[in-house]
Symmetry: none
Subunit: 291 residues, 4 copies
């Protein structure tokens, strides 16, 4: 099966590499074309623009950094819209707000193209090993057509109904994740400042009812102040902001999410936006006045 | 081995039943003595006061509802102090602040008795099946002496050093748990109000990096507004308050924990204190004005 | 001096009446023209459309209800844009977000016209007596030209620099106001629940370092659960949201504003959006579960 | 009239100086006796212990730093209790929790002494000029007897009923004040980061409905990072903690106060506890990672 792939950031690169490893033919495009080199070395073809990739492939997947990039790859000159047409499908795996998703969907379907939004849950490592959770919504027919690729990319591909629902589900999950990372950070600092060994806290947590892969995986690296980005903090904060906006629309009061969002913003103001989102730990730890 | 047991609330009853099932001779006491009946039916003996239990047993375990009850059982007339002496040990499994723990420890050791604080992580079901996590601290010799009982009560018994450390570790874990329950509630309400099926959210969460037994176990009952108390909300709120106080002592700023604490307080003001702590979900859901 | 005036709502009518009383010639327009009658009785002339008013007057002031109305009066058929030209100025006193302000500014200056945004602080009574605070920004030359009118309209007319700064200043002030209303509500409930007379709290507050007209004015009505809208809660919440968005843009962490915003959202979910913003008091008071 | 005075911190010194200036005979005591020198230079007498002061004076006022100090001055060797007796009154102006106040009251009345708690609202300058607001509660007869002194110390002396109510009222006021200081800080930083002049924000605020002496007085010094302590941050944080504890007792959820408390704790962790409470501004401003 031939698949197009737009956007080779941390996630996009891992997913397309995984597709290649599983025997898919992949045509890739990235704004900075040099980022395609490693994929090409593993057998990918390069498209000169999103439009070229769409032209060549029946199904094209996009994985862009944010709503602006997701829109740009579709609407700009040389974008998806120029070549999308009946018989071709575009699957947007970017994490965007549902309004962006709906806007893209309308543009593509108005050209006769097929659209599926399919944001994923999971970061770099699950992306490399095909263990993502895929939150797709939109055209069921395209979901069915792409299922062999989706099954390689993720361990489970949900179909959630109308376009926008994938984006919303993703935001809800990431909102919970961001809050948990904050409370985990508070717990680690509280332990240490109270004379407990935070590594023992990790052991205790891992045996109890709130044990989870994120605490187990991130805990040890956080204690080493190692924040190599699996999921950049600035993206986590964007998702918190969008989740809060979704809550605002529906008059859902979310004080925990709001407090967590402000901590992530503080982390951004400390210059940590490009670090892993676990770097919010730094906000909870001792800080110094700036001048 | 013969063990005394003081306090037959939800947790105390489950633990002493588990001890009986595992062949321990258990002498129980409870403020309301009628609560001892079920234990007696399973082979327990009853002591007329904490002091009587201590007199009869080499090792006695206490599991009281709060710091006041934990202190009362030791210091009041007929309390532990009246009979504790060299060669006898008291293990306090109540979740109390470290100052209470230290106060009890000093009183007992001043009489020549041995003391171990040993709060547990886990609620009713793990208590019944001996799957608690035990956070003990104090006299290592008593820990070693009681290890066969501790190994029946829990799947893992940590020894954390000086008295107070068990209490502190427990508070840190419960603080994280309480925050997670709040953010989980926010996520469930946000999903539902945004047109998503909250049951699907449970499925999605369970496949990802933040999957944990608590979400999996509590999610379905919360969606049925079923809050049968495994861990009463008022105790969760007390632990949040104590964790925040521990943070205050050490100048640790914990905005997420603080926001979660206020939600638990709101739940108390709704009259939900005796429900399971997952009833904080009700605070996030639609509310009405009171008059 | 001759001045045009677009929009005769509560505020617009009060301001143009005040201008007439102070000897200005005023040409008014309102979507419902009958609203002009009272002004005509006091000496005003009527223009048939915004464009006609602009054509007739060198300086025209607009005071519209919301961003949609502010845009409509400029961009619609018969709107400001049709007649604005070099030598003519438009001063928009509506409270809008800075993006709306910038959009209007760009359209007007592209026609060679002059633009000043000038949202005001203060409600009906200060408008009638010329005691508003004017937060103007844009072209300094227009500010200077209009200063005699601005000095009649307000007790103080600030010039804040580039277009958008007026809107931003308004958001900052309203953000602080919204947080103060929340903390005031918390204080009143805390007093009452602690056995103190909340009316005495009002007296105590009014004698101290945080005494302010809002506490003095709103306190007594809040204690009577009287929330007749001077500033609707939904508009206050919108301003909190926009202030937080402004903070997000600039990586300013604002945990108090975030918590206050969530309380206003809770108030909206209780159906209080059209009440005065002081109705957030209801969120802090006792609530009931919805079902 | 002769008055005893225990505790010569910032507030105690200012109040006793004011009493001296107004013709009262004052016998002072302070833990560090050298602090009495300046008062002696202005005519005060020194007592060697709290008990000595009580012995000498019919009415003695205490103004101690915190609950521990307030208790110590009463219960320790050489303390108030040793000499209090029928006909003698003790007025405690310290800001303490109501439980501390009740404990002191019971001890004094059990010796036949008279007790009034009388925490004050206002800081150093109002203390010097007799412009405090006095929140007294306890024995009305002692209030009446001391009224001439109270009227010199404050511009208004409320009598609030049973002992504990003064403490509670003080906490409510200080809670509101602390929240306002936080939101004021957020507003100043938001203004600056958004390209507005924060000094202009001060001018705008001072003309509107939320204008208050604290914003007017503290704003300019905060913008100069000048935090000379009028009311030390650590005391403000203590009062926030106590107000939250009062809310906890009565199941009052106070998310704004909770968020503000965490900001004050962050300020303490930055080493700002001895600065003025307006130093919480530093927490909102840019911070750096510690290492």
């Amino acid at each position: 099966m031939e698949v197009g792939f737009l956007g080779l950031g941390i996630m996009g690169k891992a997913i397309s590499m995984n597709l290649l490893r599983n025997g898919f033919k992949v045509t890739v495009w990235n704004r900075t074309l040099s980022k395609c080199d490693e994929l090409v070395a593993h057998g990918a073809t390069v498209g000169g623009s999103p439009a070229e990739v769409i032209k060549k492939c029946t199904i094209t997947i996009g994985m862009l950094a944010d709503p602006a990039a997701a829109l740009s790859v579709v609407f700009d000159k040389g974008g998806v819209l120029e070549q999308i047409c009946p018989g071709k499908g575009y699957i947007d795996m970017s994490t965007v707000d549902h309004e962006t998703s709906i806007k893209i969907s309308q543009a593509i379907t108005s050209k006769g193209g097929h659209f599926l939004e399919a944001p994923v849950s999971g970061s770099k490592q699950p992306a490399e090993t095909g263990q993502l959770v895929i939150l797709s919504a939109g055209e069921k027919a395209l979901y069915d057509e792409a299922i062999s690729a989706l099954n390689v990319i993720g361990k489970k591909a949900f179909f959630l109904g109308e376009v926008g629902n994938g984006a919303k589900m993703k935001l809800v999950v990431n909102m919970i994740m961001g809050c948990m990372m904050n409370t985990f950070s508070e717990g680690l600092v509280l332990a240490e400042k109270s004379g407990l060994d935070p590594r023992t806290l990790l052991d205790v947590l891992d045996l109890g009812g709130i044990a989870n892969p994120m605490f187990k995986g991130k805990g040890p690296t956080m204690l080493q102040s190692n924040y190599a980005p699996a999921f950049p903090l600035k993206h986590q904060q964007k998702d918190m902001r969008l989740a809060l906006a979704l809550g605002d629309e529906n008059a859902v009061s979310m004080p925990i999410a709001a407090a967590a969002n402000e901590a992530f913003k503080k982390a951004r103001s400390l210059g940590l936006g490009d670090n892993d989102f676990s770097a919010v730990f730094e906000v909870v730890k001792d800080l110094k006045r700036s001048s």
